[in-house]
Amino acid sequence: NAGVTQTPKFRILKIGQSMTLQCTQDMNHNYMYWYRQDPGMGLKLIYYSVGAGITDKGEVPNGYNVSRSTTEDFPLRLELAAPSQTSVYFCASSYRPARQETQYFGPGTRLLVL
């Protein structure tokens, strides 16, 4: 049981490039989330999903896109990378809504946009 896995661990992008951050969970959780963590700040919710085929915006969705074709996978897409997207990205999952349930976090992806 690997829990929540994320790839890559670290990536450097040039401004305007695109990339996909991968997230997979093997706990059969319905709910999945993407957060970004900036220095000195708490986690900010980017997007979330309540099940395969269903996604919705969080607090800071601009510049990102997601899809949820399977229960296990929840990739995050950056289309035109900007320096403001330099951050650490965490994927998380939970069996029930995060507001009332334990979230399980992946180890994070550190992204640097230059």
């Binding site: 700040m41 919710l45 965490f90 995060a98 507001r99 009332q100 976090f105």
Partner: protein, 117 residues
């Protein structure tokens, strides 16, 4: 809108000393309350959570937290800190009433704990 305040950005304690990390929240009603810990280079791990009932909640690794409604606080405590407790600690709140979104879990900005030997 709900908000969480962790007034201490950085705390240093000696190993074996007691610890208290502060968390204050702003919300119209009693929310769900969580404490998460993030070790260096790792994702967040749940320490404990409060939904209702006994206001003193026990968590993993010897941590406990006390919900005080009158003070809108949910402070985290540990009687004797170990060097391995050095990490960043996040308080989070979530609404009891379903707002129509799956999460709306609001995190504080975190408190970094340093433990000296």
């Amino acid at each position: 809108a709900q908000s969480v305040t962790q007034p201490d950005i950085h705390i240093t304690v000696s190993e074996g000393a007691s610890l208290e990390l502060r968390c204050n929240y702003s919300y119209g009603a009693t929310p769900y309350l969580f404490w998460y810990v993030q070790s260096p280079g790792q994702g967040l791990q749940l320490l404990l959570k409060y939904f209702s009932g006994d206001t003193l909640v026990q968590g993993i690794k010897g941590f406990e937290a006390e919900f005080k409604r009158s003070q809108s606080s949910f402070n985290l405590r540990k009687p004797s800190v170990h060097w391995s407790d050095a990490a960043e600690y996040f308080c989070a709140v979530g609404p009891i009433i379903n707002t129509g979104t799956a999460s709306k879990l609001t995190f504080g900005t975190g408190t970094r704990l340093q433990v000296t030997l």
